[in-house]
Symmetry: C2
Subunit: 206 residues, 2 copies
């Protein structure tokens, strides 16, 4: 693309560094900002700068938080003995939305992925293992996405905590509620048969 302005080119080029934003989309976004009042750009850049500079992570679960200990970890009605291990804040939000979980979380901040150069040391694994070894934890629920990286991460953590006597579980994989069997992929369908549950349990409403 040939730009008539270096300022425009620079803005488009920085915008297109974001994941899923190509040059054309970036140009559309940047031209939109140009058409809007100057304040909109100021608000956007200010919000991004503030977020990047001042954001904090809960010192207990590593979730994004404005305070030292996040609201979930600070809530006395949560069960601190059940820890759900997730990848990032989006998973926390998704699980919180279901209203089904009353334990606390541990946010790893990613998955082990040798291809992307992400090893266990870049993730919040050590603090989880410490928590488990210190006792006081009854169950670890693995809720990473079901990919090779997710499975590797689960297994890496499992190996380190399995001797400490903590119960480990994994969220159930199976056919989505409301899905047609014929469209389900083989692996999911296979797992849903192997890991079938007593029929009475399926009657529980969420």
């Amino acid at each position: 693309m040939e730009f008539s302005s270096k300022l425009l080119e620079k803005a488009v080029s920085e915008m297109s560094q974001l994941p899923g934003i190509g040059k054309r989309t970036a140009l559309r976004l940047v031209l939109h900002l140009l058409k809007q009042p100057k304040e909109q750009t100021d608000f956007l850049t200010q919000a991004l700068t503030n977020m990047r500079n001042d954001i904090k992570f809960c010192k207990n679960c590593h979730n994004i938080s404005d305070i030292e200990v996040c609201e979930i970890c600070a809530n006395p009605s949560r069960n601190y003995k059940i820890i759900c291990v997730v990848e990032d804040v989006r998973d926390v939000m998704a699980i919180e939305n279901t209203g089904q979980f009353r334990g606390i979380y541990h946010v790893l901040g990613g998955k082990i992925s040798p291809i992307d150069g992400i090893g266990p040391s870049q993730l919040n694994v050590a603090s989880l293992v410490e928590k488990v070894k210190a006792g006081n934890v009854e169950e670890i629920i693995f809720a990473l996405s079901s990919t090779m990286e997710g499975d590797t991460t689960n297994f890496y953590i499992y190996k380190q905590i399995k001797d400490s006597g903590v119960t480990t579980s994994s969220i159930a994989r199976g056919i989505s509620v409301g899905d047609e069997l014929e469209y389900a992929d083989e692996v999911t369908l296979g797992r849903s048969i192997v890991n079938r549950i007593p029929f009475e349990n399926s009657l529980r409403n969420i």
Copy 2:
């Protein structure tokens, strides 16, 4: 969506003001920035701020430019008597890419759209009419997109300049090169028959 941090929520909310960016996508983009070095956010916000504050528009054609008169308008080998009327800088880039046009442009900055509250006074229409009335223009080529707003804008300008003796033309509408007839929409196919061209002309290679 329930956010665990106000800073995060604000950043997502500002990001999702951009067209085509919903809350979920905004969250993905913002979390990506959080994972990257701080500099990436600084580069992005700086580029956007610089662009919004310092960008200039060519005083002749209103195209985005870092200098008073853009490179196209300042190029002595261009034919100043042929003016192609376009909506925005993206159209200039697209037409320049074809290498088929040696005239200059006039960027309206939008289309007349009563629904969005955009009238002729918000667009660079008056300066175009002035240019035509001052003489020195031989042909005006309308190259707006073929929508109701585009047609309205074309016609609005046409009415104001038709008595000044300037030639007016519209870019050809028809079946895209390489497209199958059966998949073309009726209106386009109909227009392509009504506005058929001498066969010899179709032999011209671009």
